[in-house]
């Protein structure tokens, strides 16, 4: 078969975004096309850039707490967790045991709602409208539970250095238990509706070839990495908070395609439910906030704190100089590195498959742009 180029057809440039339903935010991708094949996709970033790292250097550390939630709007509590974690580590403060449990419980609920939204929109990107209606019904339950205790539904600012801002009560525990039961009862339905759907499988099986070597070259983390067979999860590899106290698995797949990333994420839903169950059973009594000096200064020195966000490895690197304002704060976000492999991954692929790949990476653009 002669290629289009040999037939004298020119390559053309197609602009995808910055507003496009498949880019899940203001991301622009310049696609160099040959017919329906993408020959060179180049992401253009920065439309949502707010310079959070500069803001951290311009205000005292407590005033940065709300910023943490505004990078990844789908994992605000996990970003909260990382930020209070890095300040605690630098200042040598330990949160109370009950607070650590509450942090894990709320973080896992946050992870579940992120995975549920991803499940809905991935399938939506591929042209099926129905599943997102079901996942939103589930997700709504989590948002209602979290709203009662944190006061917000999306951009939470719930964790504080030394603990959390409000205690959880019996009603919260009861509703979360009900939710766990509900979510488990829904999974067989998703299995039939989505996982077993032949059209869906044809769209993502053997699409995208992620490999362990490519992962190392680009710093790929999260469920997509685990889809290549590497069981790397910060909750297990560099345990933080009270995660070592729970029994859970790190799901992996070996095929390294979009289907593998899909299966890993769906199986992670069950693992998060298991962590929630155990945390609710073991939840210790006691204060939800440790005694912390009213005007806490950050000592000179540096510290990192790494957490597992729904998309991969999130690192806060904080450098203090003895004042209450950070001298420097670097925030390493997972989607940034994960998206950077798009040009290598998607060259030579059909345009519709590129949408499947971007959906599998579960991109959150405000997190990349920061």
């Amino acid at each position: 078969m002669t290629t289009r180029a040999e037939k004298g057809e020119q390559r053309y440039v197609l602009n995808m975004g910055p507003q496009h339903p498949s880019t899940h935010g203001v991301l622009r991708v310049i696609l160099e096309m040959e017919g329906e094949y993408v020959m060179d996709p180049q992401p253009v970033l920065g439309y949502g850039h707010r310079m959070h790292e500069k803001m951290a250097e311009c205000r005292s550390w407590p005033n940065f707490l709300p910023n943490a939630a505004r990078m990844d709007y789908l994992a605000a509590l996990i970003y909260n967790h990382g930020y209070v974690g890095v300040v605690e580590r630098l200042a040598g403060i330990e949160a109370t045991p009950r607070a650590e449990y509450i942090r894990v419980i709320t973080s896992e609920l946050n992870r579940l709602q992120s995975h549920l939204l991803w499940l809905g929109v991935l399938v939506l990107d591929l042209g099926a409208f129905t599943p997102i209606m079901y996942t939103f019904e589930d997700r709504e339950k989590i948002l209602d539970i979290l709203e009662d205790v944190t006061g917000s539904r999306l951009t939470y600012c719930y964790m504080r250095v030394g603990g959390v801002v409000r205690d959880i009560d019996d009603k919260f525990v009861e509703r979360t238990r009900e939710y766990i039961k509900w979510q488990r009862s829904r999974m067989p339905m998703y299995d039939k509706l989505v996982t077993g759907n032949i059209i869906f499988r044809k769209r993502i099986e053997q699409i995208g070839e992620f490999s362990p070597d490519m992962a190392r070259r680009y710093g790929l983390t999260g469920p997509v990495l685990r889809g290549t067979g590497i069981p790397y999860d910060i909750r297990r590899a560099e345990p933080y908070s009270v995660y070592p106290e729970f029994d859970f698995e790190i799901p992996t797949e070996t095929s390294g395609d979009c289907m593998a990333a899909y299966l890993v994420r769906v199986r992670e839903i069950e693992q998060s439910l298991r962590i929630l169950e155990q945390a609710l059973d073991k939840l210790p009594d006691g204060p939800f906030m440790a005694k912390v000096p009213k005007k806490l200064k950050l000592p000179a020195g540096d510290a990192c704190y790494t957490v597992e966000s729904p998309r991969g490895e999130l690192v806060y690197h904080l450098i203090g100089d003895g004042s209450d304002t950070p001298y420097r704060m670097k925030i390493r976000v997972p989607s940034f590195s994960n998206l950077s492999l798009l040009p290598e991954l998607c060259s030579g692929m059909l345009l519709s498959d590129l949408c499947a790949c971007m959906g599998s990476l579960d991109l959150v653009i405000p997190e990349i742009d920061r």
Binding site: K54, E88, K291, P299, A300, G301, V315, D321
Partner: protein
């Protein structure tokens, strides 16, 4: 390389200054100081040792700009932070051909600090707009600059204070 100790042993060949730090207090295992001229050999070594690049970042000090590289390993717990002082012409060699993920991280560091990564394939603004190339937002004003000593721990690393068991 399959353990932290073998990594430290391998670094002796370059040679770079390696300090083992307390993970509980610092959140990483090894702190490394090296010259810009050693950077590529250092990156090659980590590439053959199956490390991945976590991030590249900058730091503006009174003595000049430093570039930091964080690497970690999927196989065993070994997170390391390497600090490199830039050369007199504000540049360091690129590692984007060794770790392709460094491409964007280096462009971001160029945006924020103006550091030139020599032989980078495409050092155009990434997060900033093209007409903001001279902004260099993370450079500090002279009076707020500190030196290395001003941001280093003064006392030996202590155990974290235990939580107070009473209501705040």
């Amino acid at each position: 390389m399959e353990s932290k100790d073998s990594v430290i042993a391998a670094f002796k060949k370059i040679p770079v200054t390696v300090e083992e730090v307390q993970f509980a207090q610092r959140g990483y295992h090894l702190e490394i100081t090296l010259e810009a001229g050693q950077l590529r050999a250092f990156a090659e070594l980590l590439r053959t040792g199956n490390f991945y690049l976590s991030f590249v970042s900058g730091l503006h000090l009174a003595t000049g700009i430093e570039v930091s590289y964080q690497f970690a390993n999927y196989g065993f717990p070994c997170r390391l932070l390497a600090n490199v002082g830039v050369d007199a012409d504000n540049s360091v060699p690129t590692i984007a051909d060794i770790f392709q993920g460094a491409n964007w991280h280096e462009r971001e560091t160029k945006d924020f600090y103006g550091v030139i990564f020599r032989d980078h394939p495409n050092l155009k603004p990434l997060l900033l707009a093209e007409d903001m190339e001279d902004l260099k937002p993370l450079l500090k004003k002279e009076k707020t600059l500190k030196d290395r000593a001003g941001i280093s721990r003064t006392e030996p690393e202590a155990q974290p204070t235990p939580a107070v068991k009473e209501d705040a």
